[in-house]
Symmetry: C2
Subunit: 143 residues, 2 copies
Amino acid sequence: MERATRYSKKREAILNAIRATDIHPSAEWVYQTLKPTHPDLSLGTVYRNLSLFQQQGIIQSVGVVNGQERFDGVATPHSHFICRCCGAVMDLHRVKLDPALDRSIAEEYGLAVERHELTFYGSCQACMTKEQSKMPTKESICV
Amino acid sequence: MERATRYSKKREAILNAIRATDIHPSAEWVYQTLKPTHPDLSLGTVYRNLSLFQQQGIIQSVGVVNGQERFDGVATPHSHFICRCCGAVMDLHRVKLDPALDRSIAEEYGLAVERHELTFYGSCQACMTKEQSKMPTKESICV
DNA sequence: ATGACTGCAAAGACTTTGCATCTTT
DNA sequence: AAAGATGCAAAGTCTTTGCAGTCAT
């Protein structure tokens, strides 16, 4: 029993918003971004559609950063960098993932492996310079 | 200004609990596990100490699985497998991570890379067999 | 018309935090 | 005694959900 999916202006706008950016937005960001053009948009609708898109496999979750789930409009496998300072998420398209790795792990461990993810953590350039010019008064938010 | 850290029976118990298991527990699991032996333990204390251990670098977060943050008592880099069906997190010690990768990414993208993580997603053995023997009445929780 | 989609607001789930009290040093 | 650590419960965040009204087919 597949549930039918109808057209919806809001849904289209939400998907476009995610695809139009590379910041790997949160639900809240999508909501705030669309609010000016869609004043009657509801946050619940954003969550419901993000969830739907994920099920359809047309977007993917990058994980939870600082308490908020972040999404990627590009569903094909690629690596990410996450800044522990400002929470920025960026694509590392030049880092290739080996699709064959899934199969070899599956065989080695007896698991059903669907996909894998390679994520790097550190400080982005903006936060690096920010750190240097900062006087050491308070402890930084960066770990 | 470093803040001093004193000994505490609860803290010790919490760290031991994490180190004694390989299930990559959540705060709630630690709390429930220690409750019998430490009836006056508070969930807040568990959270506070997990946070402290992370800052000290003696445990690491494996990320948020089904809404709960999961921790790893082993802080040295290694790969993980996460079951999308039951949420199980397991170590893949045989999958080696290349420490040199951090530096090469740092140079290539101009970032300060501290570490990276390789995570596989799929179904664990228990969930695989569970799926097969299940009649297709209700949709499965597994995606 | 029917079934999907949405807004709204309430409810849920997880985590953080303020404050008085108890511990460690 | 001083500074940490904890219990308790309230508050905070983010996300999910029930329901009545709206929209697409």
